[in-house]
Amino acid sequence: MKIIVCIKQVPDTAEVRINPETNTLIRDGVPSIINPYDMHAIEAGLHIKEKAGGNVTVITMGPPQAETALREAISMGVDSAVLLTDRAFAGSDTWATAYTLAKAIEYLGADIILCGKQAIDGDTAQVGPEIAEFLDIPHISYIRKIDEIKDNKIVVQRLMDDGYDVIESSFPVLLTVVKELNVPRLPSIKGKMAAKKAVIQKMNAADIKADENCLGLKGSPTQVRNIFAPEVKKDRIMLEGTTEEKVTALVNELMRLKCL
């Protein structure tokens, strides 16, 4: 079983704030991490390898410093890592990102491709399904459990709003995973040693035989027009006084607003 896990290095968004006056991000000292959902995808890859045999490769598209994320994945036990890096990838939206990753996966070959359900910086959840479409393979999103892996098919549970669907698919298949699927393992001492020594395979646009019109900004149908801070309500009323007075005032407001 050849398994590829797509990961993304992201800023730890819980700590990102916007300065409402300048409309710019305040991110001094915000650390870069592996996208948390991708950690569950890595764990799923290692789990499938342990059950069905094979090898696990992590792949990421990003600047040279994204190598840190790949080494972290190796410390968890993945076999090899590929960094897609090229100035031509600059400005990629989800379409161009998925195209680029799909070209690399086509080159490397895979039976199972795993992605986190979404990245916590963009929150789009689009790259996984788009990769599957480019590769012309089926995909299943929001996997919360892997029921069965056989030679020619996999059975999984897909999380839905009102419960879950049990779905089977042929190989190759792309799966996006939710955090309920597993608990990512911690790096082992042996893994950390391996991560230090590992040679990260670097690939550029020419290596993956990509069409340059489909890459980066040129290949991206969407553009960010502007970014801004979320709105703050200005007309709020603070109810003051004793507990009794505050509650009475609130009940009166609720009656006035016909909420009771």
């Binding site: 195209y99 789009t124 089926p138 900004l217 149908p221 960010v224």
Partner: protein
Amino acid sequence: MLIRIDKDKCTGCEACIASCPYDAIIIKDGKAEINELCQMCKACLSVCPEGAISEVSEDSDQKEKGQGRGVWVFAEQRDGKTAVVSFELLGAGRRLASELNTELSAVLFGCTESEADELIKWGADKVYHCNDEIIKVFNDEPYAKLLSDLIQEHKPDIVLAGATPIGRSFIPRVAARLKTGLTADCTSLDIDKETGNLLQTRPAFGGNIMATILCPFTRPQMATVRPRVMKRGEYDEKRKGAIININADNIKSRTNVIETVKEASETALNLQEASIIVAGGRGVGGPKGFEILFELAEALGASIAASRAAVDEGWIPYRHQVGQTGKTVGPKLYIACGISGAVQHLVGMQSSDIIIAINKNPEAPIFNTANFGIVGDLFELIPLLTKKIKEAKGL
């Protein structure tokens, strides 16, 4: 467009680095450089004290704008029943269609014709309707193929779908296939008066920032839209429209749904339909604290929600969670008790009509979003509030 740094002007002061949401600016040989993570968000342009960062347009960059006409809404269903988000999309779609002076169509897979008729009453001029066996249950490939084929045949200008597990899973395949842009989980949609382009606004970075996205050169412009954010259109019993039946011949699926299991409780479903919600956060202090919220909820006829903090503590099940990683709700009245108001929670409830915040910390950010605020101890305030509401209602 491209962002360029004038190396002669750049002093290597690093002011731009902190402004970049995407880690796309690095210092190399004492000068700033833009790397491949750049998303052209232009956040850095105004930051440079030397004016060394500018936006340059490349002529070769201009792509053909396709000939799109009409606004389409993908109306999803589960068990043959149209999902509520479809009516919200028709509300938003109707507004966009009027601004563009064009027609509004819906696409419905796997329902009877009477459900298609409902979509017309909710505002659609036309419904493309397919009820073949292969699309009765949701599988990504047949849905993506059938919708892509329809779009290629009729060339709409805009296609909207719900940002639900279904929409967010198969719509990206449609966009990939059609080589057009897709914006995820939009919370606001408008038409740019000058260009007629769709302005698609969405939260990013866990709701810490909002971004407006354009798809200027390819058609259709596609977006998934967050449920419970758009207002439904007007229901008109007498509205007439056309139902166009299509079939799904020669469409295959390599995935197969073996079983569908319902798990969500009544509460979870009620939460998104609720007109009043009482929500608790870390300040509630434990499962016992939620008991007094349940009493208030009962007096009000409200549903119970929780912030992630309370769910993570194990005080209340996940299905009650509201926020970026939980449900998005839009009730008439939302009472936030002991919730500090992290932005991740706010994105899940800020479209509520009236928000009341009760918190003992006067500095809690929840007060910035609230219409009414009370600073105080919720263990004193809530039982008294419950009592007075019962009195007011004559219970």
